[in-house]
């Protein structure tokens, strides 16, 4: 059995290189790949269908097919009962401001670490890299205590500042990978032209760091877009809830009515997947840069 299997897979390797012929081994591989594809897509498809159905259809008449009657009203119910619009907006604000703060701090720190010659640059880099392994739990109690004392619970700041801090290590890691690729001759000639360190940073380095900016941006965006623990604990008022917390609350309001929950899940999911269709390679590259450059 094992030998037979090996033989077919070796045939398959040769056929890959020497011809495009379909071998039995290749057919098996395609069946497995398609099966896993189905496993990946089906739950999302099912979520979409039940977001548009009535309970009668979901619970028996039409479990997995497309809706017989497309109930778009589920979406308006989801939007009106909870404040999905507010949650969505909050999530966007938190993500965008977090990305800005993270980027500014990371670009500046990376510049100090990679473009100045000083004894502490390596240890400083290692120090920041500690952040890659520190879990978000580390600061939950102290930050909560501080927030209570400053009366800052129930504000978007309560999320933005910790999210920026926890995104920083990865951002510096990514920025370093890109910044050391920029030739030092550029700094040098700018310096000869009378540009000081800050001028070089803003006029030479920052414009050349665009690829790093998008990589860091995508990575940081997804981190804070999905975060639940801090968002759930620090902000309990409706007007400061982010999307994950809001959806969690909405599901409590509609325990038996599946359609509106499905609609809320779809609203939180499909914009992201829509962007992914167009930027799939970019988004994938961000994750690869984040993990592999280390």
């Amino acid at each position: 059995m094992a030998i037979g299997k090996k033989k077919s897979s070796s045939n398959e390797f040769e056929s890959k290189v020497y011809s495009k012929k379909m071998t039995p081994g290749k057919v098996v591989i395609y069946i497995l790949l398609l099966f896993w594809l189905f496993i990946n897509i089906f739950p999302i498809y099912w979520m979409f269908t039940f977001s548009l159905k009535s309970n009668e259809e979901i619970f028996g008449a039409n479990v997995a097919g497309l809706p017989n009657e497309w109930l778009w009203s589920n979406y308006s119910r989801a939007m009106n009962t909870g404040s999905m619009g507010v949650y969505f907006l909050n999530s966007v604000i938190v993500a965008v401001v977090t990305i800005l703060i993270t980027l500014i701090a990371a670009l500046m720190a990376t510049y100090a670490i990679t473009r100045f010659k000083w004894k502490g640059s390596k240890p400083m880099n290692s120090f920041f890299m500690l952040g890659l392994t520190i879990p978000i739990h580390a600061s939950i109690v102290p930050i909560y205590v501080i927030l209570i004392n400053l009366k800052l619970t129930n504000s978007l700041t309560a999320l933005i500042v910790p999210y920026s801090a926890f995104s920083l290590a990865m951002a510096i890691l990514i920025c370093t990978g890109f910044m050391i690729e920029i030739p030092y001759e550029l700094d040098e000639s700018a310096s000869i032209d009378g540009c000081n360190r800050w001028g070089i940073f803003f006029k030479i380095i920052c414009p050349l760091m665009k690829p790093a900016v998008s990589t860091v941006g995508i990575y940081t965006f997804l981190q804070c877009w999905n975060e639940l623990m801090f968002a759930n604990i620090f902000n309990s008022k409706e007007e400061y809830k982010t999307l994950p917390v809001g959806i969690q609350g909405l599901s409590g309001a509609y325990t038996t009515d599946w359609g509106p929950i499905g609609a809320a899940l779809a609203v939180a999911t499909f914009p992201m997947l829509f962007v992914y269709i167009f930027l799939s390679r970019r988004i994938q590259d961000s994750f690869i840069a984040g993990a592999v450059k280390g």
Binding site: I101, S139, V141, I247
Partner: protein
């Protein structure tokens, strides 16, 4: 060469270095480093942040954490280690298999890759809510399919998340579903970076596809596999979102993980000292496991 001349030190550079580092350092020290020490400090107290009561009790929180069945930390730690083992021995091999097949170059490679990675982009809360529906005893798609296949009978639908024997596995499945694509993507990037000459040379020497993977590709992507193992283990230790949405530690504490206990101590019982002790223990465990994995991979050489 240019680097040497340009990188001369000037007096104002000291100040500039400091200024460029300042925003990062404030954030990093203020939100990550100082709180670790503060957590360590709080963990030595019987501390209620709401009422402000604070009394020093030494290491009593830690002693209680490891010995008290009422708190159940050991059980929770066991659960998260089980999740870690499932991730390393089930999820990662699956990811690796997909990465090897796709990385070798196959028709439709990009489409498979992009779809497999898609669940990573979906919020964990959404995935949790979706699987609550999938697992629903009466109307969930899982039981309906199993009934159609005659694996279960119509009058005896299993309650996957409500039964303490199946709840933890049921919590693991969505994690697997979500993150196989993530690890696959990292490994795929590694497989793609293997120089084509290496593959060709091995193939000309008569190596089979399996041998090429075993002796050329795997050693080449070892550092990526190491990162995946570290992420899988520390991710399991820290797991919170999905468990919180699916079971919140229930039924009968069957799916409790350290994070759910920590949150309960903090926000249901106002035991901030104990919550801090659990947080400190989690940080230490993540750190220790990362070191162990590093060491194992180094000894492999």
């Amino acid at each position: 060469m240019g680097k040497e001349i340009y990188m001369k030190k000037t007096a104002s550079d000291r100040l500039n270095i400091f200024l460029f580092l300042l925003p990062g350092l404030i954030l990093f020290i203020g939100i990550l480093i100082a709180p670790i020490f503060l957590s360590g400090y709080y963990s030595l107290f019987n501390y209620n942040a709401v009422s402000g009561e604070m009394s020093f009790i030494g290491f009593d929180n830690y002693k209680e954490m490891f010995s008290s069945n009422a708190i159940g930390f050991m059980k929770a730690l066991g659960n998260s280690l089980l999740l870690a083992a499932l991730s390393v021995f089930l999820q990662l091999p699956l990811s690796l298999g997909l990465a090897l097949v796709l990385g070798k170059g196959i028709k439709g490679e990009r489409i498979f890759l992009s779809v497999y990675f898609m669940p990573v982009l979906i919020s964990t809360v959404v995935i949790g809510q979706l699987f609550l529906k999938i697992y629903n005893p009466s109307y969930g798609i899982l039981n309906i399919v199993l009934e159609k296949l005659s694996i279960i009978s119509a009058d005896n639908h299993p309650i996957w998340l409500g039964n303490k024997n199946t709840a933890l596995i049921a919590c693991f499945i969505p994690t697997l579903w979500q993150y196989v694509g993530y690890h696959m993507l990292l490994m795929y990037a590694g497989v793609k970076s293997v120089p084509i000459e290496l593959r060709e040379a091995a193939m000309l020497d008569g190596a089979t596809s399996g041998q090429v993977n075993r002796y050329i590709v795997l050693p080449y992507i070892k550092s990526i596999i190491k990162i995946s193992v570290i992420f899988a283990i520390t991710g399991s230790l820290k797991s919170f979102d999905l468990i919180y949405v699916l079971t919140n530690g229930g039924p009968l504490h069957a799916t409790e993980v350290p994070s759910t206990i920590m949150i309960e101590m903090l926000f249901q019982r106002n035991r901030y000292g104990m919550g801090s002790a659990i947080a400190v223990m989690l940080i230490a465990l993540c750190f220790v496991f990362a070191l162990i994995v590093n060491k194992i991979f180094r000894e492999e050489d």
